[in-house]
Symmetry: C2
Subunit: 181 residues, 2 copies
DNA sequence: GTCTATATAGGGATAGAC
DNA sequence: GTCTATCCCTATATAGAC
């Protein structure tokens, strides 16, 4: 098994149980690897596993969502593409966001700066598209922040209410909401 | 020390570290009570402590925020009052929401239904005010959900970005956003 | 690279004195 | 009602065989 494969198998465990909740026995089961094997790939232990997962998922997000925001298409088209990618990335709202997961408990102590950097990157990419669309810079920034908050909040509602509708609704309305006059 | 006092002292610990992250040693320090004393007040152990905290905070929210949504004032006035209470309740965005905290890891297994009930209660109370204001029922419900999501998301942004502005902005714009035509 | 077995620390929880 | 001391279990992490 490759390290990448190991990381991929760890993702759902951290996603569902959070950093503290994902015990090594649990991670071992989830990956079908003995504890010692996990330590072979991640000598730094659990925190290194979480860091690897966080980085991997972050890159995935970059390739899938942020990529859609770059390029030469019209802003509205790019936003629509990004929203489709978002739906895929979050599995229609069923996946929790790692930024949220990593912002609690001791994970926050360990990863605060990295999480902050990722979030800023997302907001910045979104802001750029809005500016392209002719929206004033400071309005664009605020609106991007609000959009990200809306998504994060929707993901929480989905978890709690056992209903993916809040997420789908947000995703559907997002491009127009962002580009409103 | 009364049980209520014990609960009050436990609140910040659970808020900051989450359910799994709040170890008994930590809870013991936070409350200035020995572990055995904690078990005197909460024979059911940590889960009972969390349940008590969750209930207490929920009641606090009811007395402070939901109360503002009842009564005879005009909808817009009630929403403004509720937003002021929200700002107080979340300490300007510095407090995380217990609904979010309790929706991860094993806390989710333990408290899922209670968390869901609380969230529904909040959405319902909000929806009722919007209906009073003449908004159609299904629009009102959707808009209430979105508002709650916006707040939850803003609280996450605040945590991650170390900046309370996203929360304050949402709170400020919420009454008009909810009652827009 | 993966396993079994084990070391060590910290977790939740209890007993019993005061 | 609060403490000290302690129990048992699980958690993280490591050793060493294959």
């Amino acid at each position: 098994m490759s390290k990448e494969e190991a990381i991929i198998r760890l993702i759902p465990a951290f996603r569902q149980y959070g950093y503290e909740g994902a015990s090594l026995s649990l991670l071992s089961k989830a990956s079908s690897l003995g504890k010692a094997s996990l330590y072979h790939y991640f000598p730094g232990g659990k925190s290194e596993m979480a860091a690897a997962v966080f980085e991997y998922v972050g890159n995935e997000f970059g390739d899938l969502v942020l990529k859609a925001l770059r390029g030469e298409n019209k802003p509205f088209v790019k936003l629509q593409a990004a929203c489709n990618s978002l739906r895929e990335f979050y599995d229609g709202g069923r996946n929790s966001c790692f930024l949220t997961i990593m912002s609690f408990g001791s994970a926050d102590n360990l990863f605060h700066e990295q999480v902050k950097a990722r979030l800023r990157q997302i907001i910045e990419a979104l802001t750029k598209v809005l500016i392209e669309a002719g929206i004033e810079a400071d309005v664009a920034e605020v609106r991007s922040q609000d959009a990200v908050a809306q998504i994060q909040g929707a993901l929480i509602l989905v978890r709690i209410l056992d209903d993916t509708e809040p997420f789908n609704r947000v995703i559907k309305s997002l491009p127009e909401l962002l580009l409103r006059l």
